[in-house]
Amino acid sequence: MLGRISLLLALLLATFPAPAQTTTDQSQSEMVKALLTRIDKLEQRVAQLEADKNSGSVPQLQAQTQIPQPQSKQVPSAEIQQNQAAAQMHEHDEHAQNGTVAEHHFPSLQVRGFGDVDFSATDEPGSHSGFTLGQVVLHLASPLSRKIAYFGEISFTAQPTAYSVDVERSIIRYDYNDYFKLSFGRYHTPTNYWNTEFHHGLWLQTTISRPEMIRFGGRFQPVHFLGMLAEGHIPSGRLGLVYEVGLGNGRASIISRAGDAGDVNNNRAWVARVFASPAGLPGFQVGGAIYRDKISPSPALPGNPTFGEWISSAHLVWARETPEFLAEFANVHHRNELTGKISDSQAFYVQLAYRLPWQERKWKPYYRFEYTHIPVTEPLFSLADFRVQDLVSSTAGLRYDISDFAAFKWEYRHTKRGPTDPQVNGVFMQTSFTF
């Protein structure tokens, strides 16, 4: 009975906005509130009538539930409901037969999109100013059952002659509980906070671009990882510890890519990350990760050496917007397995932003400093085909959220790479959005 009335009223409510589109948002909101209040009152009335008709149990329960109970009696409501459960079975069955209002269907695919349009102009010799269509990204999420879910991310990127399509992420995850979830697929490697926080959703990130140390197509750290990942909470009370442990193919022969079509050698890469998000400090996160791989580069180098790779990283984040603070550091250790030559390269960035309180909090200025150091004796990154350059870069920008789901960003960037490279200044603009 209650369910039918709810459904009817919900249908009435759902059809209401169509003829009322000419009214203002405020009046619509007030009307919705009035209708909801009316629904609630009607439901209360129906429940009262039903209760009066059946027995006097409702007032008794209300009295027992609402009167403060002694603290020593831990679960009074549980006892109450036990006594009432039998009386409610008939009502429950009726609800079940009518079909629940919150019924879940599997699979249930949901698609969300991200997009951006960019403009850039720099004083770098040989560069051209102009507009570019950034990535169009489709994010897919679909529960396959109550404990199994699929996630996918597909990007369309403009190239000089066509659009390239990439499966950025494709993950199937099996949940046992909050402490153990096992997934298989292609991930953004969890060695870096930015990589696993913002993915390809440029609208999600404050700035126009990613930090250089984790940029798409970059070689300093592997952006993608193909394999399996176990993750979950670590029982740690208010500390909020989370772990991730993965095993996968690691870098492909082209070291900026993951081994999607099979590993390039018989050595699996593995990654482990732990971070803490304390319950008392929402937005705060601190953590670190270790990544181990063996690289078999292509084109092969003289003597066909392989390289052992250890990446250790750490991050410290305050993700609130007043202020927003992001800082990450990574050390990449390479060892030439043929010669035994070792080298360590470092990169870090620090980003600070603040959501201004005026004008409906639409403005957010920001600044980011980035640094990358590659030793000249680095056995892999110093070679032409695998080069990663030094970098000292400052970015100052302003973000304006034109709506809840779209933003404009303006940036000035000053970049200095190698000692003999010229300093580059550039201005960049972007509108990014989700749909």
Binding site: L36, Q81, T100, V101, S108, P143, I171, N177, H199, P282
Partner: protein, 164 residues
């Protein structure tokens, strides 16, 4: 004598103003309806801390201790229950709430935001029919057979109850 009369009058006015303010505050306090947290009657949980409730509603905790998936039911925009939870549990504005779930789904932490329902009746029905469901209704809507959780050790209507 005149000074004493003036002082007395001022005291009387101040007392009257104080009484008016006190009564207004009492009326406001009484009008702040508590929001009850209800779960399926078969759910063994009897109480939660506000921190645990926050984790559940924010999708950071997704399973009950029995490994049963938690199904969070949330009221639609404009409802009193939603306003209370946005303020006390999420500590977010409505746009921030929407952006929060876009981000969370993008991170592959959840597949969808909490199911939004249009009335307390729908919430009650959802909680009754879905084993792992949790929902919030106005305390005046509590009926027989519902399992109301203590939050931080308090039931709705008790002093110290945090959801109102």
């Amino acid at each position: 004598m005149r000074k004493a009369t003036k002082l007395g009058a001022r005291l009387a006015i101040a007392t009257a103003l104080g009484l008016v303010c006190f009564s207004q505050e009492a009326v406001e306090r009484a009008s702040r309806q508590d929001v009850a947290v209800i779960v399926n009657p078969k759910n063994p949980a009897g109480s939660l801390t506000l921190a645990e409730l926050t984790k559940i509603y924010r999708g950071e905790r997704q399973y009950w201790k029995t490994n049963l998936p938690i199904v969070v039911l949330f009221r639609n925009g404009g409802s009193y229950e939603r306003e209370v939870l946005l303020h006390t549990v999420f500590k977010m504005t409505e746009p921030q709430y929407k952006q929060y779930w876009v981000s969370k789904i993008m991170r592959a932490e959840v597949t969808a935001p909490p199911t939004e329902l249009f009335s307390s009746g729908m919430t009650k029905e959802g909680v009754v029919t879905i084993p792992g469901a949790i929902g919030c209704i106005s305390a005046s809507d509590i009926r027989s057979g519902m399992k109301v959780l203590r939050i931080d050790g308090h039931l709705p209507g008790e002093p110290g109850y945090p959801l109102h």
